[in-house]
């Protein structure tokens, strides 16, 4: 098991992390950040195993991973 | 101190090394080749390097990198090579980096030929590249002076954080004269705390040249303009002869300037009231002695230069309509002779006395 912390103000909602996550743990949130992007969120925390694939693909260094 | 008989190109190279220059970047071009060759031979002896670049474009950016890292460094080139460096010189101005660039000018435009010329005057003194900036421009008239000005060029560059151009021509580069190398003291210069050499536990150094914020960009320009104004007020350098009672004042620099000095002395012996201003800094241009001459006796100015007439514009700006400014020009790589200058001085001295 693991979890990710997303810095929603850095996130630009590019979805590369969503695409990288094999387990479908991430989704775009409904809300917007101050820049007007819809940041990603750990929508299904029970599916996260802390594998870091999302963070590896994040171009904005917005994801911190715990396991 | 030992007196040596060396070429101008070799004298400036040795003087640069004695001023602490450890790095030289350049590309061979006649008539400046003795510089890069001397550096290749001599720099390793003092723990330095000469890097032969693939072009002058590359040389000037190698210089930018080394200066950005805080080293005393220089390049030497000629005519076309100096043109290729202008983009980088604009960057050096914006980055506020101290470097020394020697231009042993040759006849242009284009390839021209290898004969001596002062045709690079505008490029030396008007910035030369894109944007709004100036370089220090130092113009020796002999080999000893060339050696002396190298140390000064490095010091001024460091003190004001801007490039210094040493404006030569083929005659000064190729000529041998006796020279004594003098040590300079650099203790008064500010430490280069801004240099990018790795943080080494301190804050990060960014050596960059863009300002996207328009307010900051304007402030930066205003600060640089103020520095240029300060330099204009305090760093003008020139040699003068017999200005006090001169009706006619000859203004001439570099190789032409040394011939003019001989001509003015000869004309004085013939009883002509003529004086000389030989600019040593072409930028800042020595407007002060021109102003002084105008408050004394000057009724006219004669500019002698080896081009179609470039410095004459600076003299006219300084004179600002208060007296006639005549041009004696030698073009196509030719140099003035003492006789021809004396003859022109005699003619013009007569004219200004009649019209005054």
């Amino acid at each position: 098991m693991g979890y990710v912390v997303i810095n929603t103000e850095l996130c630009k909602g590019c979805e590369l992390c969503i695409s990288a996550c094999n387990r479908g743990a991430l989704s775009l949130s409904e809300t917007q950040n101050r820049k007007g992007y819809q940041p990603v969120s750990l929508a299904r925390p029970e599916k996260c195993n802390g594998c870091s694939l999302c963070a590896i693909m994040c171009p904005d260094v917005a994801i911190t991973v715990y396991r | 101190m030992q007196k040596l008989l060396v070429k101008g190109n070799e004298a400036i190279s040795e003087a640069a090394i004695q001023a602490g220059c450890k790095l030289f970047f350049g590309y061979p071009i006649t008539p400046s080749n003795e510089i890069i060759e001397y550096m290749a031979r001599r720099l390793p002896e003092v723990g330095g390097h000469m890097v032969q670049a693939e072009s002058e474009v590359s040389s000037i950016y190698m210089l930018l990198g080394a200066a950005g890292a805080g080293e005393r460094c220089m390049t030497g080139t000629s005519g076309c090579g100096f043109s290729l460096m202008q983009e980088g010189m604009s960057f050096l101005a914006a980055y506020e980096l101290p470097v020394v660039i020697v231009d042993v000018a040759r006849l242009g435009p284009a390839l021209g030929n290898l004969d001596p010329s002062q045709g690079d005057y505008f490029q030396w003194t008007r910035g030369g590249g894109h944007g709004d900036y100036y370089n220090f421009v130092l113009a020796p008239s002999g080999v000893q002076e060339a050696a002396d000005l190298m140390g000064l060029a490095f010091d001024l560059a460091d003190q004001y954080r801007m490039p210094a151009v040493v404006a030569m021509d083929g005659v000064l580069g190729q000529m041998m004269e006796p020279v004594t190398f003098r040590q300079t003291d650099t203790a008064h210069l500010p430490p280069k705390t801004w240099a990018a050499r790795g943080k080494k536990g301190g804050p990060k150094h960014d050596v960059v040249g863009y300002i996207l914020d328009p307010v900051k960009a304007e402030r930066s320009d205003i600060q640089r303009a103020a520095r240029y104004d300060q330099i204009r007020a305090t760093e003008q350098r020139w040699e003068e002869i017999a200005l006090d009672d001169a009706d006619l004042v000859v203004v001439s620099f570099g190789t032409a300037g040394r011939v003019a000095r001989a001509a003015v002395r000869e004309a004085r012996q013939q009883g002509i009231k003529v004086g000389l201003i030989r600019p040593i800094t072409l930028w800042p241009f020595p407007t002060n002695p021109i102003a002084t001459a105008l408050t004394q006796n000057a009724k006219g100015f004669m500019v002698a230069e080896m081009n179609m007439g470039q410095m004459v514009e600076d003299v006219r700006l300084a004179v600002n309509g208060r007296a006639p400014v005549y041009l004696h020009r030698n073009m196509g790589g030719s140099m003035p002779t003492t006789e021809e200058l004396v003859a022109r001085i005699r003619t013009l001295a007569g004219e200004v006395s009649v019209h005054a």
Binding site: - | T30, D115, V171, M175, M176, E177, P178, R258, R261, A262
Partner: protein
Amino acid sequence: MMERMRLAGFGGQGIMFLGKVLAHAGMLGNKHVTWIPSYGPEMRGGTANCSVIISDVEIGEPVASRPDILVAMNEVSLRKFQPVVRPGGIIFVNSSLISGVPMRDDVTVVTVPVNDLARSAGVPGAINMVMLGAMLPYLKGVDRHLIEEAVRENVPASRQHMLDGNLAAVAVGVDAAHVPA
């Protein structure tokens, strides 16, 4: 005193070296001196020339465009520079290679068969030094002692074995200069 000299000849005749020795000797005598080669494409065209000025006063014009002294080591050089020598000047002619050229009558002409003299003395490569010796009695700015010291200082360490030959050639020239032409 100001001696403006133009030294000219083929590439390979040692013209530049001759000029350097003269300038160096002048410097050793605490004179103002300049030495300047003709440079550029000319350098590769088979003719070589340089200007040397030795003076008690500061030197303005560094190129001897109107020389007081001309050294012509070949005919092309003589024809090229004879017209610009100042009236009352001296022209040193390498008579081993030059003959039949009409000479001006308002200058002193010194003919020296430097190739022949150098060959006889066993230093065929040192024609420039023979000419230097021949010039010596006519020069005001330098003397033999200074010239010999300058030769010593200008022969590079790698060619020290040629030093004696060079000095011998100077001596041959000095002697020849006193032989009526």
